[in-house]
Point group: C2
Chain length 135, copies 2
DNA sequence: CTGCATCCTCGTTGATACTG
DNA sequence: CAGTATCAACGAGGATGCAG
């Protein structure tokens, strides 16, 4: 719960200076660094259909190393975006599930992915045209 | 194709493969690396109210270096997310404007920022609790 | 199977100085 | 004012090996 009233935020946003007041830059960057890193978003995305085990994740996110998988998973769990359920059995089994918080984020992620899917051709074209023009 | 292990079966049972097919991973990552980097999103955000000059951007995005500002600006322009208008006058003047493509992205960005604003306290709390529990 | 520790590489960033 | 060029530093990330 933040103590700032929404109207006040909006008023500040449309104000003369910037869409994002300096006070907000901090946690925006902070949050973005979490979800915007190389793997978090992908993990959240593949976790959406249902719980997955460590090895499954490694298979479904091609290119990720064990190190990064462990690291990202831990971080995501610490942030409460996913939950970790470890079964002390033999063989060991650990399942990762999308927590409600992560699920909320997934909505946004889906939008972003949709946008990427819709416009990546356009972006590509723009980039190549720029490269051609520039050379 | 008959080497179907349990993980594959489980994944298949939940859904076809994943929320994100492997074919999409590429440009998702590609797009995310664009907009998810340290500065692009901030620049897009501050550009939303209207065109800004180089120095204005440097002022409104505190902490950014000239190098990163130039780099990010150029990349954004090449991708067609912003437009660059240079007036060969004296003194030199260059204005950067949010292009339609960038404006579309801004919608998503706004959602993400909203989510960050709504949940950063929660994330913080979760993280600290995890740290406490873990130690 | 799950995951951590170590080492090492390499890309990204920032500081500084310089040009049109 | 609006950049570009060079250098140095930092940190993310990959490979490997080992432990529970």
């Amino acid at each position: 719960m933040k103590m700032v009233d929404e109207a006040e935020v909006t008023a500040a946003a449309i104000g003369p200076c910037a869409a994002i007041p300096a006070e907000h830059m901090g946690f925006i960057r902070e949050t973005l660094d979490r979800v915007g890193d190389k793997w978090s978003l992908l993990i959240i995305a593949v976790l959406e259909p249902g719980p997955l085990r460590y090895t499954d994740l490694q298979r479904q996110v091609p290119g990720i190393s064990q190190r990064m998988l462990s690291l990202t998973l831990r971080q995501l769990a610490e942030d409460g975006l996913i939950t970790r359920a470890a079964y002390a059995e033999v063989p060991p089994r650990v399942e990762y599930t999308l927590a409600p918080l992560g699920r909320g984020l997934h909505e946004i992620v889906t939008s972003l992915i949709g946008w990427a899917a819709d416009h990546h051709d356009e972006i590509r074209a723009n980039r190549e045209r720029a490269a051609t023009t520039g050379s």
